[in-house]
């Protein structure tokens, strides 16, 4: 240990540290500058970007010794005036979603803005190129930086009752832009022990421990080793209880690379330094399969004895007479398509801390599903539900993989064994090995149409690689057959699916639950079918689009169907793009442009299963409106959207609402942040609780209506027809939760379970959308640049148009990654330089069009949006590539070598 001197905010800091230590650790640990985020420890993500002598560096790549004597700037410590402007600009533009990349983005922007006060787009892209964002699609970040130094007009806050529909700033935004947001790794009390996992490095293996006690004795600072033998509860968890199959720590056999077998707990500094390669364990590798074809093959070893043919579950939806209708069809197209494992690649690896408070185990970690975490953790630990409390930290992105428990039961085991607070922070490779993925799919489908271009029949089958454990495999197997028709009237239909176990990573939930994969198949074939019918591709979709009163393949009669409106909104752009592309292609040989279109529909909420949300809305004796907003905000904006709905229902200014988060000890269950359900379902509960609280206020004041409800100095003021009624809140009796007035309402969407043919009402509300992509393909290199996208989405009612646009742009970024570059290969791409996600330079120009066809079931008409936005993107791009080149890519991602091979094949 030596001392280094850092010059931070005009102050000299002398820090005792090892010269070889990462500067990021010194800044976070020793100086508590937590805005410096750790996303990869490899210079790949830029989340730890700081300025050293004014130039941007990844602090994770700087040995402390090299920072000695230099000026260091972080988000907390740089010049306040520029930051105030930049922060305002980020908030005004909605440039921060989850917020984990925001400090790094702002530091990179600071270097640029000092040199170029009003940068152009290209300058911003160059300057920010080293920072990855997984949420926003970068557009709003670019705009925020370009406008940081320009005068902005401040919009007045919306009046009471008029928040819905307004693009207000996110209510939880300030902490995201000033670096104070507390993510999973940001709160670790002094004296906390560190937990590290020993993980399998084989795809499938048996293992035996050696002398653990001797190993512990040999390593100073190691407190204990925890194995499956320490588990007091049931060592078997899973998001869908009937399919639960995953051990918190493997017992004798590991089924995927990265599966944890033991935990080492100890003093953080000592344990962090250990190599762990001498941990006493011996491995006996077993045969393994990594693809759905191998997993389902006759020679495959069963991963779970009771699941024959490695089949976790099959799904199907059948209606009409698809086989005979296909025979009668004038035109039939058939195709096979493959998708790859896709990694969520949130910039925040899984992290958290746990401690005992009296006899209650408290776990603060990033998550999308606090109550499910609680249930699974209690089950594994053998604790009653009321002895576990889950406190969600801010989540630095989730996209589905933070729905399953990750480190929660492991932290619990460590705390119960040591009696000490314990923390765990996954490394990037650990996160990539251990977290769930998007299911790889092998899909085949046929679609038939009559001579006029009306779709008569569709058959579809998809085998999905569900990996080692069940996770959300059943959901994918169920959702895919329900949605594989796309938002089109398909009278004769058979869609089947199968989830196949392999020794690949466990596939789980990833924005769309298998529907994006199915949409690639169906929308590609729709293009081929339109061509066969000789009908314009957009017009073909319009002919077949679902309309109000149409019946889905599940037999559900739909209302408030917005797909026609989306397609119509795209039509002028479609025509304009066509003319431009045709003109371009007449003069360009080396590069060809093309336009693609694809649609989506997506049911919001669980498929045919209950999934209620409960919202509590109370008034405190000292005069605060507390909204218990239990919908975990992982960046998508539920903290803001739910509050806007509740405020309008109650009839107060949204700024008056105090948000109480999804801590399981204080906030009722709003279910999981998945299935595009929060705006719809929690929104409905919030609307109901707002209306109920308003009714309670009117009862108390004996008024028939209220023109204004306000709180002033502990007094509730209600105005009706110029008359004020005032009630002293402190004089009212408080309920068990401390509220003098309170409403608590639950909403569960009306659905039915599906029968053996998939018939029923799987969802109460659907959202719709369609996107067009303009692409440019380099014909000799097989590279694709997406130039422009127009996205029209029917959101029912845009509660917050800016957040809705943010969802669209971010969804397009992930869809673009799915189409062109993302392919997770276990053992090969376990970092963010081999696994590629789109950078700031890969994004097309995006125009978002919000369509509002209100659904009577949604709060104020609103429908879900979060997953819809990703579904059309990849097929629109692939259809654009086909239009440009004549080549049909049937395996994504369309990496250059795959596309070039397809181009060559199409030319012969």
């Amino acid at each position: 240990m030596t001392s280094i001197t850092l010059n931070i905010a005009h102050q000299t800091h002398i820090v005792k540290t090892h010269m070889a230590r990462r500067l990021s650790e010194v800044l976070r640990d020793d100086l508590k500058l937590k805005s410096v985020k750790i996303g990869c420890d490899a210079g790949d993500c830029g989340a730890c970007t700081v300025l050293i002598d004014g130039a941007q560096h990844c602090a994770c790549l700087v040995p402390a010794g090299q920072a000695d004597g230099r000026k260091i700037e972080t988000l907390e410590t740089s010049e306040p005036q520029l930051f105030a402007r930049l922060q305002d600009s980020f908030l005004d533009h909605g440039a921060a979603q989850c917020g984990i990349c925001t400090p790094g983005m702002m530091m990179a922007a600071t270097e640029l803005l000092r040199a170029v006060p009003s940068p152009d787009q290209a300058q911003v892209k160059e300057a920010l190129a080293g920072v990855l964002c997984r949420c926003t699609g970068y557009h709003k970040i670019i705009a925020a930086v370009m406008d940081a130094n320009s005068q902005t007009t401040v919009c007045p806050p919306p009046k009471a009752g008029h928040a819905v529909g307004q693009p207000i700033r996110r209510l939880d935004g300030q902490a995201k832009v000033n670096g104070t947001e507390v993510f999973g790794a940001d709160f670790i009390p002094d004296g906390t022990l560190l937990v590290r996992a020993i993980r399998a490095q084989h795809y499938h293996a048996d293992f035996e421990f050696g002398d653990l006690l001797a190993w512990i004795k040999m390593h100073a600072g190691v407190e204990c080793v925890i194995t499956a033998a320490d588990i007091a509860g049931i060592n078997c968890y899973g998001v869908i209880p009937p399919f639960a199959d995953q051990p918190a720590l493997a017992e004798k056999t590991t089924r995927y690379r990265g599966e944890p077998v033991a935990l080492v707990v100890g003093d953080p500094k000592a344990l962090e330094a250990l190599g762990l390669d001498d941990f006493p364990i011996s491995w006996t590798p077993r045969p393994h399969s990594l693809t759905q074809a191998d997993g389902a093959g006759p020679d495959a070893t069963l991963l779970h004895d009771h699941r024959q043919e490695n089949t976790l579950i099959r799904g199907n939806v059948v209606s009409g007479a698809p086989d005979s209708a296909m025979v009668e069809a004038a035109h039939v197209v058939t195709g096979q398509f493959e998708t790859s494992y896709v990694e969520h690649a949130y910039i925040e690896p899984e992290a958290g801390v746990a401690w005992m408070e009296a006899d209650v185990l408290c776990i603060q970690a990033c998550t999308q599903a606090p109550v499910m975490d609680l249930e699974d953790t209690a089950k594994v630990l053998g604790l009653p539900l009321n002895k576990v409390r889950i406190i969600p930290s801010a989540a630095g992105g989730g996209f589905g993989a933070k729905l399953d428990v990750t480190l929660q039961p492991l932290l619990g085991l460590a705390v119960l064994k040591t009696g000490m607070p314990c923390s765990m922070v996954f490394s990037r490779s650990e996160s990539m090995q251990a977290s769930t993925k998007r299911h790889p799919g092998s899909m085949q489908a046929s679609i038939g149409a009559d001579a006029a271009g009306k779709v008569m029949a569709m058959t579809f089958h998809g085998d999905f690689n569900t990996g080692a454990y069940a996770s959300w495999g059943p959901t994918v197997a169920t959702r895919v057959p329900v949605h594989a028709s796309g938002p089109y009237l398909t009278p004769n239909y058979r869609a089947t699916s199968r989830a196949v176990h392999t020794n690949g990573p466990t596939s789980g939930a990833f924005r769309g639950f298998g529907v994006p994969q199915a949409a690639i198949t169906q929308e590609s074939l729709y293009d081929d079918l339109a061509q066969k019918c000789g009908i314009d591709r957009l017009e073909f979709r319009r002919i077949n689009a679902l309309r109000d009163g149409d019946v889905t393949p599940c037999g559900q009669t739909l209302q408030a169907v917005g797909i026609i409106d989306c397609l119509d909104a795209l039509k002028p752009h479609w025509d304009e793009f066509h003319a431009e592309v045709t003109a371009f292609n007449t003069t360009s040989l080396a590069h060809k442009r093309g336009i693609g279109i694809a649609s989506c529909w997506y049911g919001c909420g669980n498929t045919g299963l209950p999934n209620p949300s409960t919202v509590r809305f109370g008034i405190t004796p000292d005069g605060q409106f507390n909204l218990h907003q239990g919908a975990t905000d992982i960046g998508q904006g539920s903290n803001t959207v739910i509050a806007q709905i509740a405020a309008d229902a109650l009839g107060v200014q949204v700024g008056m609402i105090n948000l109480v988060g999804p801590d399981t000890a204080i906030t009722p269950d709003c279910g999981k942040t998945s299935a595009s359900r929060q705006t719809f379902i929690t929104g409905r509960a919030a609307e109901a609780s707002g209306l109920a609280l308003r009714a309670a206020i009117l009862r108390l004041t004996n008024l028939t209506h209220a023109d204004e409800i306000t709180l002033e100095g502990g007094m509730l003021c209600v105005r009706q027809d110029q008359n004020d009624q005032k009630i002293s809140l402190k004089d009212l009796p408080a309920d068990a939760n401390g509220y003098v007035l309170c409403a608590e309402e639950t909403y569960d969407p009306p659905t039915t379970t599906l029968d053996e043919n998939g018939q029923g009402t799987p969802y109460a509300v659907y959202g719709y959308g369609a996107q067009i992509a303009e692409v440019e393909v380099d014909m000799a290199l097989g590279t694709t640049k997406v130039l422009r996208m127009i996205a029209a989405h029917d959101v029912g009612r845009a509660i917050n148009p800016q957040l809705a646009e943010g969802q669209i742009e971010g969804g397009i970024a992930q869809g673009l990654g799915l189409a062109l570059m993302e392919e997770y290969l276990p053992g090969e791409t376990e970092n963010l330089h081999n696994y590629l996600i789109p950078t700031i330079g890969d994004m097309p120009h995006i125009t978002s069009i919000l369509i509002e066809i209100p659904d009577t079931e949604g709060p104020m008409g609103a429908k879900g949006l979060g997953e819809h936005v990703l579904i059309p993107t990849a097929p629109a791009i692939l259809n654009g590539i086909h239009h440009a080149t004549g080549a049909r890519v049937t395996k994504v991602p369309a990496l250059p070598h795959r596309l070039l091979a397809a181009i060559k094949a199409s030319q012969t």
Binding site: M19, R22, D41, G65, G130, L132, T839
Partner: protein
Amino acid sequence: MTVINSYLRPFALEHALEELAAGSLRIAAGCTDLFPSTEHKQLQGSILDITRIKSLRGISDTDDGIRIGATTTWTDLIKADLPPACRGLQLAAQKVGALQIQNRGTIAGNLCNASPAADGVPPLLTLDAKVELQSKGGTRVVPLHDFIIGPRKTVLAETELITALLIPKSSLTGHSHFLKLGARAYLVISIAMTSARLVVRNGVVVEAALAIGSCGPVATRVPQVEAQMIGKAVDPVVITDDLVATAIDPIADMRANAAYRAISAAELLRRTVLELAMDLEAAT
């Protein structure tokens, strides 16, 4: 086992060379490869940090050509005023990672890491760069193509340090260009990259230096292709797919298969030469 780490950060080159002679040390400069190779929060092993040795950083003209100090960063190279023959090297520097990496990564580190996809190697090959190696025992100069002998393999001895890259005056003639092909816009490890330096007199190529990277175990010059260009007007057409395919031994990995690499390397090389021809035209 717990590793006892030491961290040396000498000011004087002699001191560094003495330490290297005394024991096994890992040499650290920009750390853009060292840190990603560990998940630990500090560099492992005993470290010799050479970034305080002033004489190792910077670019200078010498009687024999240009000397690029070992710890010269990509940003230093981008900002330097260099002759047109070095433009390819500067373009390559701009394609390394993003600004954060360019601000830290050093040219010698890029060579020592010896990745098949090292961005600096193809342009340096076209400049006939030599590697100056010093140890306590003395100095030796090794041509770059003899310095990197395989993926992650160099002839650097444990007691040696790269002190500089030397570009001979004879190779500072002409113009150069560089292109990199990857699956995304920034922060990308290349599928293929090509560099070209041409000396053109009276409309005829009198000297051609072409190199291809990321397509084999080590980046390589392609003399068969170069020979086809000599004595003719600058014309990418002579760079045929077949000719390039015989000149390289392409690898297959997660980024591309071998067949694609061969085809794309040829195409990229043609484009590099075409861009270079346009630069030449603009310069005259």
